[in-house]
Amino acid sequence: MRVIANIQMVANIAVLFFVIPLAIIAVNTLLPKKLAGRVSFYLGGFAGIMQAAAAAADFFLLSANRLHEYEFSLLWDLSIEGSERFSVDSLSLVMLFCIGMVTIVSVLVAKQTVHDRKRAYVNLLMTLILGMNGMVLVTDLFSLYVFLEVVGLSSFILIAMFKTDTGLEGAFKYLVMSVMATVFMLTGLAFIFMQTGSLQYKHVGMNVLRFQSHSQSVLIYAALILLISGFAIKTGAVPFHSWLPDAHQSANTAISILLSGIVIKVAGIYGFIVLVDLFNEVPAINMTVAVIGTVSIITGALLAMQQNHFKRIVAYSSVSQVGYILLGISTGSTLGLLGTVVHIFNHATFKSALFSNAAALHEQVGSLDINEMGGLEKRMPVTAFSSVTAFLSTTGIPPFAGFWSKLLIIMALWKSNMQVFAGIALVASIFTAAYFLRIQKKVFFGKLPDKYENLTEVKGTVKFAEIMLSVVTILTGVFFPLALLYLKGRGII
């Protein structure tokens, strides 16, 4: 009886993933202008905290009941057959938690970097959260596409909303690439629908194996090529990465945190996870994802080495790091998926930390050109410590969080007979270390230029975000083995 009550609680909590952002849009829009200017960020922060708390609560309720998945409806009666159109599972709850965490960081940074259009920023942040929540909760490929459109549209407006020349250019590039991804995906979905007669995950998974004739096989392979291309554009994977550095560099840093910290993962990576899961019987898909991942790791790292703009280096680092995530997905194994999910969480953490560092540097130094900096650790010790922690985690140095996720991915590759890819992933960590050592040396170490003698550490919410993310990175790394034991004990892995 108690178990049943707990299970109903899972659905009640899951409804909050839609209700809270919608309620905040309503309240934020109806508030008088002056009041909205004062409380908008608090509303946004509240949404992030509630999202993370709800995801954590649902995760523990599910694992306590030893359930992997729970379907629910939103306001409609669940007893109607076929109305269970949303579902929570361990993967979606981790993604939802990451969305909440990155939202909190974005709002903390926005409090010091967004000076006007605060109400619009928070409203669009809520629609972005709604889109991402919808993507990870639906059980149908077409519904996934509908919510993906919400994410794309919200991201585009967030980049363009301050109407700077670079912001509009970045937004336009993102829009063009996004439209291409949309066309690819819709065509791919149409091909799959022609073959299976349904786009629900459970039906696609069952029916896709029925293709036997040559023309049917061609249709499915064409659909897969189109869908992989579409999700690769959204991920910013090579060779579809051209929009990502421009968009991430030109956007306000609070928005760059969202884009790099979570949007590329939900809009792109999550799509890859769904695809590999549904089409795991098609051997070519694993190899294709592995090749895209490997090329992204190397190309992203090499391009990062050549940049001089702090945010641009971090953006190219995202291209490289999503390569690791794609390699984890390509294994198609439980271990690989675990490594992928952990690296998604870690990447959300250390990338948010690095963009918070960018916000701190921009606030205090007034520039993000690394050639103009040096020796800043003497004046900005918290920012320097936070940046070094994020760098060590990104590179995969023990005992920081990034070490565990990269280890799991490389082990999964090795066990899946993909030793060549495991070797490349291992060696490519040297490239990661190379571009991050360069950035650390040029920004925080060496001689402090005379013009920065009077520089002080950033204060307020940006400093709080830096400290919070450093603590999360260190604690995740130190206590990760315990978390693994918990997951194993609950039968989740």
């Binding site: 908008s40 006007d116 077409f142 459109e149 549209l153 049917q216």
Partner: protein, 165 residues
């Protein structure tokens, strides 16, 4: 039925080209709505009745209203556009692109005709429309509501002059 489909296909092509080529944003938005309406008729004739209703109501109706609102807020018209935009040469390759795209579509259509599902009769689908919309596409309804909210916010943020709080 075939005559209606081919006529609407032709109209969709004509209005689509007009939407791209017209210099007035207002006329362009109206041409896009007409192309969308023609597509809606094709969908209806081919048995995709619920897709047709969404296409006509959302893409042809609501989106056009949002476009026209945005245009009226921005007050941008032909006279404000730079001369470069009016250069006819930018359309030089359009017929070639259309012909190649058309040929590719015909090849795909002919090669995949055997695997196409048999269209469900319109009457049968119409009976189940309410059930399909409310019970089977629940997530999409939420998605559509959120798309509309985002669209409205986008128009307000991008086209409204002056600073928002």
């Amino acid at each position: 039925m075939e005559a209606v489909v081919y006529t609407c296909l032709g109209l969709m092509l004509v209005f689509g080209i007009l939407a791209v080529m017209l210099h007035s944003m207002l006329k362009s938005a109206i041409a896009l709505a007409a192309a969308s309406a023609a597509l809606g008729v094709i969908m209806y004739e081919l048995g995709a009745i619920w897709a047709a209703i969404f296409e006509v109501s959302v893409c042809s109706g609501l989106v056009t209203v949002i476009f026209i609102s945005a245009i009226s807020l921005s007050n941008t018209d032909k006279k404000d556009l730079p001369k470069l935009y009016e250069d006819g040469k930018r359309m030089a390759f359009l017929p070639l692109v259309l012909i190649i795209s058309g040929i590719l579509l015909i090849v795909v259509a002919i090669s995949s005709v055997s695997s196409l599902p048999v269209p469900t009769p319109v009457a049968e689908v119409a009976d189940n429309f309410r059930e399909i919309l409310w019970n089977h596409r629940q997530a999409d309804i939420w998605g559509q509501i959120i798309v509309l909210i985002t669209g409205a916010l986008a128009v307000a943020v991008l086209f409204k002059e002056g600073e928002l709080p």
